[in-house]
Amino acid sequence: MVVDVTSALDAKIPGGPIADKWDKHRFDMPLVAPPNRRKFDVIVIGTGLAGAGAAATLGELGYRVKVFTYHDSPRRAHSISAQGGINAAKNYRNDGDSVFRLFYDTIKGGDYRSREANVFRLAQVSTEIIDQATAQGVPFAREYGGLLANRSFGGVQVERTFYARGQTGQQLLLGAYQALARQIKAGTVESHNRSEMLEVVLVDGKAAGIVVRDLVTGEVTTHAAHAVVLATGGYSNVYFLSTNAKACNTTAIWRAYRKGALFANPCFTQIHPTCIPQSDEFQSKLTLMSESLRNDGRIWVPEEVGDGRGASEVSVDQRDYFLERRYPAFGNLVPRDVASRAAKKVVDEGRGVGPLANGVYLDFADAIARLGRPAIEERYGNLFEMYERITGEDPYVRPMRIYPAPHYTMGGLWVDYDLMTTIPGLYAVGEANFSDHGANRLGASALMQGLADGYFILPATVAAYLAGMLGQPGPSPDHPAFAEAARDVEERTTRLLETDGSRTVDWFHRELGKIVWEHCGMARSADGLRKALGEIPALREEFHADVKLLGGADTLNQSLEKAGRVADFFELAELMCRDALVREESCGGHFRVEHQTADGEALRNDEDFAFVSAWGWDGPGGEPTLTKEELEFENVSVKTRSYK
C-alpha cells in the first residue's frame, strides 16, 4: 500500500498578482556581489539547452563552474535533435498572441496539471530567449524583409514558433555550446567530457558534490561544490524504443531521488504522434518527424478496415481524415496527446497502413498542389530526406507513414519556484524537472523551457541560495560522505561486471520496454498496471542475476555504462506504474481506460486529482511515499479541454 503523507509541499511561490511575481521575487532575492561570485563553486551536470545555458551564464556572471557530460563534446547533448521550433510570446504576427495567451495555452495544453506561477514566468521569459539566441547568431528563419519568420504548432491558434529549418534544437544548442566554449576559454568554466555522474553527495542534508566515472579510464572521482544543478534530461528510454538518443537515461535524477529528492508525476510521459513506425525487432530507436509537418500534412487512414491498397488507389471519399473530422477547430494541429490517441484508435480498429499496418498517413499531396514543391522543400526538406533515408520511400510522391512513439517526459524531479529540489542546494532544470508542462507538453515548448531555466531562471535563483552561504566554509571533498559515495559507485560497478550471466543488457532493456509500453504507454488500466508491477521486479531480479557484461571497469566499456542506466530504469519503471495506478483519472498523456467519455476523450477528475504527486524513496524494497502538492488555479478557469 502507498503511504499517503499529507504534509504539504511548499513550492515557495511568491505572493502578489501573477504578472508581478517573478519581478518581485527577483528583487526580493538576495544577490551575490561580483567579487564574491568567484568564491562559489557550482557543478552543472548535462550540456543540453538547460545545462549548457546555465553553465555558460553562471560563468559569465563570475562563478566557478564545473560542467560534466558523458558525451565526447558538450555539443552532442540530445537537445540537438529537437526539430520544429521554439515558442515565444512576441506577437510578431499580430495575430492576438500575448504572454497571457502563451501561459493560458500551456496550462490548458498541460491539462491543468502544472503550476500557474512557473508557467507564467516561462511565458514572460520566452521573449527574452529569442532576443538572446538571435544575439548569439542563431540563424532563425527570416522573411524577405529581414524580419523573423514564425509558424504554428499543435494546440494553439497563433503563429508563435521560431525555427531554423527543421533543426531548431541544433542551432539553439550550438548557440549555448558556443557561449559555453567562450567561458571555457575564459577559464570560468571547467569542462569534463566523457564523464558520467553516478551519485550525488550530501553533507548535513545539503547537496555538497557528486561522484563521477571517467568513461575512458574508468577512474572514479569526487567533486565538491556549493550547489549542484542536474540538467540531465528525460527518461523516455525507459520504453527502450523512443525518439530519445541512445544514451539518454534517468541515472542522475534517479540517484538524486534515492538520496531524498522527491520525484514528481513520473507517469506523465508524452507519446509523440508523428514518428516513423517500427519496422523490425532489432530496431534500436524510433525517429521523430517534426510536429511542424502537421502544418501542411493531412493525416488520414482508409475508411475500410483491412483496406490493403496503396495510398494512391484510395480515393478521397474512401479516406478518413480522422483528426479533421473529430476536431474541426484544430484539425491536424490538435495537441500531441490527442493526436496520438486518435491514431492509436484507428490502428487498433484495423485501419492502420504500411507493411505491418502499424501507421497512419501524413499526406502532403494537397500542400504540394497548393504551394508547389519548392515551398515544401524549403520548409521541410531535411525531414523529407531523413524519412526517405530511413524508409526508402519518397514522401513527395507517397504519403509518409507515421505512428506515435515515446518522446518526452513531463515528470521529473520535484522543484519549487526556484527550481530547487527537496534537497537544499540541489537544482533540476529543463526536462529533468517536472514543473511547467503538466500532463502534456505543447510542441516547441521544450526548447523554451530548457533555455528559460538555463539562461534566466536558475542563474537568478541559485544566487539567492549561495548568498546565504557567504562567509562559511564550502563543502570539503575530504568529508567521509564523498569517499562513501565513491565506494557505493565502485561496488555497483563491480557487482554488474561479476554477474556473468547469459543475456545482454540490451535484451533486458528491450524486455523492460515492452512491459512499460504495453501497460504504462498510451493507454493504462488498473489491471495492466498491477500486472506490470508484478513483472518489472521479477525481470529486474533476473537482470541482476543473469546479465552478461564483458570487459573491465578501468577502460571504455559501453556495456557497463548501459547496464548501470538500465538498472536505474528498472526502478523508475516501477515508480511510473505506481504513480499511474494511483492517478484514477485521465489527463494529458496519462490515459486511464477506466476514465474516458462516451466518445473516447480523456476524463479528468479535478475534484480528487488536481495535485502533483511527489514520490519519496524509502530504501530498497521499501514502499515509496506519496506527498501531494495541491494545484491552485487563480488566473485561468479550469475547464474540460476541447479542441473540437
Binding site: 559569465e60 563534446s73 540563424p139 528563419a141 550550438l174 533515408r389 530511413i390 526508402g392 564483458l550
Partner: protein
C-alpha cells in the same frame, strides 16, 4: 542478408590494433548500419568476446557522435548521410564491409572505432562564438537580416562536428569544419565585431592539430550535411583580410 565485417579492434590509445573478421548473418535490409553493429555486438557478447566500441547517440544524423570509415569512405557510400542514417539496403547480400575509425593524427584512437575529437572543441573555443552575455540582447527584430544571408549562414551552421571532413582529407585538414563555423558567424551582422579576430584565432588553433588544405574537395563529398567548400574560400578571404587588418593596426602602434 549475410555479410562479412572486417573491423578495426584496438584495446586503447597507443597500443597496436588489428583487423578482426566477423560473420553478420540474417541482417534485415531495413536495419541501419549501427543497428547491424548492435546485432553483431550482442552476438559477440554472448560468445564471450568483447563488443566493438563505437560512438553513437541520436541515430538521427544530427548529434555528430557517430562516424566510421566504411570501405574507405567516411560514413559509407551514401552521399549526404551520416553512419547512423545509412541503411543496410545500400549493401548487397554477401558483401565484405571494412569498418575503421577516423584516421587522423588530430583524432587519436581511444578504443576500437572511438576517436578523440576534442581538437574540434578547441577550435570553437578559440573564437567560434559571438560574445553576447545573457541579459544584454536587443529585441530580435531590431537587426534585419536579409533572407538569403540568413539562409547562407544556416547552410554553414548545419555542421554536426562529426569530423568526417578531416577523415576524408588526404592531409587531414579541418578546413571545412572550421570554415563552416567561421562563415556561419562572419556572414551575420551580429558576428561583425569579432569577425577578424575570430577567423585568425580559429585558423591558428586549427593549424595546431590538423594538416593544410590543398583543395582536394574530398571533405565536401564526405560531409553528411553536404556543406560546400565555397565556405573554405570565404574563410580564406577573411583570414587574409584579417592578417592585413592586424598588420595595419600593428603599424599604427
Amino acid at each position: 542478408m549475410d555479410l562479412t565485417l572486417r573491423v578495426w579492434r584496438q584495446q586503447g590509445p597507443g597500443v597496436p590494433g588489428e583487423f578482426e573478421e566477423y560473420r553478420a548473418t540474417g541482417i534485415s535490409e531495413d536495419a541501419s548500419f549501427l543497428e547491424m553493429l548492435d546485432v553483431v555486438n550482442d552476438r559477440l557478447t554472448l560468445d564471450g568476446r568483447e563488443p566493438i566500441a563505437f560512438d553513437h547517440d541520436c541515430r538521427e544524423g544530427i548529434c555528430g557522435s557517430c562516424g566510421v570509415m566504411i570501405n574507405g569512405s567516411p560514413h559509407g557510400p551514401q552521399k549526404g548521410t551520416a553512419t547512423c542514417q545509412l541503411h543496410m539496403r545500400k549493401f548487397s547480400d554477401g558483401d565484405l564491409i571494412v569498418v575503421e575509425p577516423w584516421r587522423a593524427a588530430g583524432f587519436p584512437i581511444i578504443k576500437d572505432l572511438v576517436v578523440d575529437r576534442s581538437a574540434l572543441d578547441r577550435i570553437i573555443q578559440a573564437g567560434g562564438y559571438i560574445g553576447a552575455d545573457v541579459g544584454g540582447a536587443p529585441d530580435a527584430n531590431l537587426t534585419l537580416i536579409p533572407k538569403d544571408v540568413a539562409e547562407t549562414a544556416m547552410d554553414a551552421a548545419v555542421c554536426i562536428g562529426c569530423g568526417a571532413c578531416v577523415a576524408a582529407c588526404p592531409n587531414n585538414a579541418a578546413q571545412l569544419f572550421t570554415a563552416a563555423k567561421v562563415s556561419h558567424l562572419n556572414l551575420l551582422p551580429q558576428g561583425q565585431p569579432e569577425r577578424w579576430e575570430r577567423v585568425s584565432a580559429m585558423v591558428d588553433e586549427m593549424e595546431r592539430y590538423f594538416g593544410s588544405c590543398t583543395n582536394h574537395g574530398e571533405c565536401e563529398a564526405a560531409c553528411p550535411k553536404s556543406i560546400s567548400i565555397d565556405f573554405i574560400a570565404l574563410m580564406n578571404r577573411d583570414f587574409i583580410k584579417a592578417k592585413w587588418k592586424n598588420r595595419a593596426l600593428a603599424a599604427r602602434g
